[in-house]
Amino acid sequence: MKEDFLVFDHVTKRFGALTAVDDVSLSITKGEFFSLLGPSGCGKTTLLRMLGGFERPDSGRIYLEGRDITDLAPNERRVHTVFQNYALFPTMTIWDNIAFSLKLAKKPKAEIEESVDSILEMIQMSDHAWKYPNQLSGGQKQRVAIARALVDRPQVLLLDEPLAALDLKLRQHMLIELDTIHDQVGITFMYVTHDQGEAMSLSDRIAVINKGRVEQLDVPAKIYEAPASRFVASFIGDTNFFSGEIASVEGDYCTIKVEGFPPIRAYNDKNLAPGQKVDLSVRPEKIRVTINPPLPEKGAGINVFPSKVRDIVYQGVYTKYWLVSSSMLVSALKPHSRFLLDQEAITWNDDVFVWWHPDDGYMVEAK
């Protein structure tokens, strides 16, 4: 069955008193680019290491194409890892590094040469084949590490924060390259990262992990727009939280009573009943900041709150505002177009209005 390509079945792993992975069940499709996203120490690397065979779960099983691989040694499963520090063999040339797994599999010599040369070409490193790893730059080492893990076409490729050691420009470049490589080889990628930007731009699906548990498993857009919990909303991107209680429900919408803040209207997609405690998440880019209140044709039910500008951070593409509204600090993003010509000149301590449509807030149930 296509759905059951790679399955984590109620996997738990403890290190002493710490439960690194707590009853995790995942199902990954063949050919998918799947990301495990979470803060450091959340257990995502432990999950990866269990799949690689370097750790054994305390309970639960791992299946790969219907075969139970839980107790197999790392060399007995066709799952290769791209390590964070690349782990290229310093005593071997690039060519020998890449040929390592093929030689172990005792492939014929001509086939090894053919595969290594063609993958070297794919990563555009043919001219460096005879070099040693310490003669390469970080990005080149990264590409070699990926090529070495891909050359004998594993069933799954594991990537453990592969871009963490690269600088920003190179990271952005490698992101595109990784995506291209994934499209070319069609192998299932399992990508571990704490960088939500990387995960969002590459993944078909993301599992957000916190404290050893899967908080949410979905496509990137769903994770961003419809976070399942307060943790997911705060970990993925910036957001403003309004914690309160549903006071009343009016059709598809409801009114939330927040202490020390005027009532807020929000879209009640989960049909929550009055009295339910909720966290309302409103992304900064959804909040508008204007000197004049919005025109009435914007809609009757929109949330409008007078505020005072506390801080302005100009960031080129957009400007970030920190505003105080009824003693709460709210952040808002304003993208620029013709910034110097016709932007309303908002400066420090101006009295302004912040406003957003009820559809732009997203409610999660508070625990």
């Binding site: 890892t81 390590f83 005593t91 043919s126 005879w130």
Partner: protein
């Protein structure tokens, strides 16, 4: 661009490119000054004495046990029928000791390097602990253990007896085993007698010299290998396992090449002292295992023939330096060859790419 010459013309040959890197860090004048004290020390206490020893060999001995006039008689007298055998035995023993030391030190260093920090220091310290007692005392302790009534010899005997007893009692095994042990078809009782005669004594044999030398020089093998292993990146082992290697394969192909430098220094640290050792063979080797060091000692102190002793020393030095020089030459030729091969490979690949 299918002509190989045109491809290689584009980039300078590899040897040149590599030479460029090494030329960068040439030491300046000030750095040479810093080396003067150690350099002077080496000249004064190593190079000049070595030269003097070499010069002695071209003198005859004097009647009072000193160095006589210039002469080639020493070298002519050196043609002693025993010497080739002794040199060969010395090299063989040194080789055995070095091999055992390395074989034992490798897993030991690996294990220490994988321990956590606290244990690492403790175990490494424990390995150096024997150095707190005198070397001669330690060798003497071995002498008592290996003595015919010492506990090690007793255990060895007991083990041999047990083996015979075992072979006698396991049906099917006993007949061929007894036969092979005693080609004349002796009875078991006879085999037992054979155990107790002098041939099974450990003391005063080559085995005793090897055993005690391994004991003495093992820390000198462990320390450099451990130092290299401590710096070794063990995630490389995981990477090798991940790519399909068994643990032992990873140990052989990744760990050992990774700590090559440590192994080379361990070999030198063991081989060179063993080849010149004379205390251990003197004390536990008996008449059976006199090495070149003992001969030099005998000539210098017993016969008071300093030129002869010098000539033996030179002979010994040559017997070490020539194989080592050969090894270095062979290694550099290997490196050159593999470089050339890689260069040719690169050219070949470039050609193939252009054809496509």
């Amino acid at each position: 661009m299918t002509d190989p010459a045109s491809v290689s013309r584009e980039r300078p040959p590899m040897s040149k490119r590599m030479a460029k890197d090494t030329g960068k860090n040439r030491p300046g004048k000030a750095e040479w000054l810093v080396t003067i004290p150690s350099f002077a020390w080496l000249m004064l206490f190593f190079a000049i004495p070595a030269l003097i020893v070499l010069l002695f060999t071209f003198h005859a001995k004097s009647a009072n046990g000193g160095v006589g006039p210039w002469s080639l008689s020493t070298w002519r007298e050196l043609v002693d029928p025993d010497y080739p055998a002794i040199v060969w035995k010395t090299l063989r023993v040194s080789f055995k000791v070095t091999l055992w030391c390395i074989v034992l030190a490798l897993p030991c260093s690996y294990a220490i390097a994988r321990m956590n920090k606290k244990w690492r220091g403790l175990v490494a310290g424990a390995i150096m602990l024997p150095f707190w007692t005198s070397f001669v005392v330690r060798v003497f302790a071995w002498k008592t253990m290996l003595h015919p009534e010492g506990w090690l010899q007793t255990c060895y005997h007991a083990w041999l007896h047990f083996k015979i007893w075992l072979l006698a009692w396991i049906p099917g095994v006993s007949a061929p085993a007894a036969q092979s042990a005693n080609p004349e078809g002796c009875l078991l009782g006879l085999a037992r007698c054979a155990i107790d005669n002098a041939s099974t004594r450990i003391l005063d044999s080559e085995a005793a010299v090897v055993l005690v030398s391994v004991y003495t020089f093992l820390p000198f093998a462990i320390m450099p290998i451990y130092t290299a292993a401590e710096k070794f990146d063990f995630s490389l082992m995981e990477a090798a396992r991940d790519l399909g290697a068994r643990s032992f394969y990873a140990f052989r192909k990744i760990f050992i090449p990774g700590i090559r430098q440590g192994i080379v220094s361990a070999v030198l640290m063991v081989f060179i002292p063993v080849i010149g050792s004379y205390v251990i063979p003197q004390m536990v080797g008996g008449k059976d295992c006199l090495l070149i060091g003992n001969k030099i000692f005998e000539r210098a102190m017993g016969n008071r023939n300093i030129p002869h002793a010098s000539a033996l020393s030179v002979l010994m030095a040559i017997s070490v330096l020539v194989p080592m020089g050969l090894a270095v030459w062979w290694k550099s030729r290997q490196t050159q060859r593999s470089r050339r091969r890689m260069e040719e490979d690169a050219v070949r690949r470039a050609e193939r790419r252009d054809e496509r």
